[in-house]
Symmetry: none
Subunit: 222 residues, 4 copies
């Protein structure tokens, strides 16, 4: 599962996917223990849940908590930050299926999921921190972006494309901006202003406001 370190990421699944391959290279010696792997990630999660301030997490302490040698961590990850990427991944909720009834409902579901994530006790303070830290390491952020954000974004883009196709959404809007119009208002609250996550029903209100526009309807008022 850990993969930021470098080739490991690619080769680990490779050895699994390459069919007969496992024997080919002939990895020798004792294989890495998955148990240990999980123990490490879980140690981080546990520490964070126990209220250990994020800044007090250290490889040294994580190793101690997990009952693991420091080298065992460095063997798998390049450093604290790389480890966090996997921790975050292990905590990200699985994207639930979209209702599919209408583009509007799908968008609401997506935005609502962001809200839920912001509310989750675990995620809230916790993810927020890891998040903030990760931003200072472009490489890691990129990689997180690639493996976690991008797929979700793609899922949303599909919904939007469907909306454009079936006339639920205007076709003359910069597509790159379109997604952010829906996602931005909620993200700004959950990520940038944690603790200020909007209440129930906000997802719908955001989606509707963006769809309908904020300017008074022209018809009657004229």
């Amino acid at each position: 599962m850990p993969g930021v370190s470098g080739a490991a990421s690619a080769s680990a699944p490779a050895s699994g996917s390459a069919g007969s391959a496992s024997s080919a290279a002939g990895r020798r010696g004792r294989p890495r223990s998955e148990v240990v792997e999980r123990a490490i990630v879980e140690a981080v999660v546990r520490l964070l849940e126990d209220g250990v301030p994020f800044s007090e997490l250290s490889i040294e302490r994580i190793a101690r908590t997990a009952g693991v040698g420091k080298a065992t961590i460095y063997r798998r990850w390049d450093g604290k930050e790389a480890l966090f990427v996997d921790v975050v991944r292990s905590m990200e909720p699985v994207a639930p299926p979209l209702p599919g009834t209408s583009v509007r409902d799908d968008l609401v579901a997506i935005i609502e999921m962001l809200r839920q994530r912001g509310l989750a006790k675990r995620s809230s303070a916790l993810l927020h921190n890891v998040f903030a830290q990760m931003q200072s390491y472009p490489q890691l952020w990129d990689m997180y972006h690639r493996t976690s954000i991008a797929p979700r974004r793609e899922r949303m883009d599909e919904v939007l494309r469907r909306g454009i196709a079936n006339g639920e959404i205007r076709a003359d809007i910069d597509f790159g901006l379109l997604g952010d119009l829906f996602v931005g208002p909620m993200l700004v609250r959950t990520v940038l202003r944690p603790g200020d996550t909007p209440e129930q029903g906000s997802a719908e209100r955001i989606v509707d406001a963006v769809l309908e526009g904020v300017r008074p309807a022209e018809g009657p008022s004229r």
Copy 2:
């Protein structure tokens, strides 16, 4: 100017602005040197501009660069992070005046300013980091929020209220959400996805999209 440490923040400007006041208390001992203060903040800025990776900034190094004792820094700020708040403040651009021609134009100006800040070489990578770090220190973030973000937000809220009053903006939208509808899409890009700052003209496009709505105008009206 440094103020996270205690009441200094509030009182420093006070003692400056309160006219004759300075003599009142009769502080004893050698007063703190403003020169030193500036030297410290500037040392941080210089280091960051010289490409020193953010994670390599340390009080020790900052002191060395500024030609200052470590204690002199700790005397003013509670730690690295508190110092950064002031650094960020010293670099934040002054909010330019709003055109005032229409609510729409004012909003564009505000959003455009966010874009500009994201573009500024200094701000970009640099501020982004300090920013990210600060998010892990709730106290600091609060305080930054209070002194930097809130005033700007208030400025925007006034514009929005004006818009509601003069009919440029619907009155039936959750006011708390309203601001984020405009600000969110741009912030998401500049803060959360630095390096992906939208191109020229995006501010207008965002404001217009949010105003008009993303749903196609009702059939006949087109």
Copy 3:
């Protein structure tokens, strides 16, 4: 009283004792306060008596305890060690008069005084430390030697000379060694092995043993 710094040593008592004199030279500005001087020395003594480990004495702390500015101390003494010389001097007991009945009795009185000093609570642990420290500063040790040890030594040498003159002491012994023969055994105990100070009567036993010799009297004489 302080004198290591320079000529002050000689002039201090002068300015103090000379009554009307103070005007003579025409010193300008606020005169140095003797109160302050005593406060400093006493602060050191008090701290030591309060059981503050010697190594934790610092100019900073002494100044704080004495309610005095650091500069005020530096104005009088060259440093911690120079100050200690005066502290030690302020605590050294005055040499009592010698009985003068016989050279042997005078020597016993001198050695007994060394024993007493070693026993004195204040002196014991306390002086011992200052003592030990001073030894690492040749200059200070010299000066302590000159003002405190040498006079006492001279007093003893006179006794010894008297002894040689009146036949109580052999004339064929290296005079330089002679003093140490009496003084050494006791000093070794009180200075080098504090807490092992010999019991009552040791002074006499030492003096007599050195006088008579440790070898059994020649056969027949017994």
Copy 4:
């Protein structure tokens, strides 16, 4: 070799000499390097020999000189002073064998050794300082006393007992004082008044003077 910290002192040589024993305990983790150990002690010696004033020795500087991390020093010794005990020990000359011809000659050999130690360039100023410092740390002094002084003292006591047994020394003298009568005069010079170490032949003169007594022989003079 370092032993103040704990049992290491006793057990380290044990594990080496005890043949098969090493397996017993089953030390875990990387073992401490003896090379490093020596490097540290030697760094101190070198610095002192290079004329670095004793007061300028700091763990920081010692570590730098030895090319060693500070923690590596603290891992072995409790502090500067504890380290010095081992430094002193590494510099103490090995006690040479006694001639054994007569008690008088053995005593001369012992006292002469003290003189030699006081003369040695290395020892002289150097040992004197460490010595002086150590006296301010009762624990350390005790321990130095136990491991270095006491054994030598015991050796001397044996000589004295032999002297009493074979009639070379009077039996009616307080045995506790006896040793100091010989040792005191020389120690006072080498330890308390470094730089004033007596010249060649003093050991004999001291021993003889103490043996014979300082009072003129009664026989002829009467």
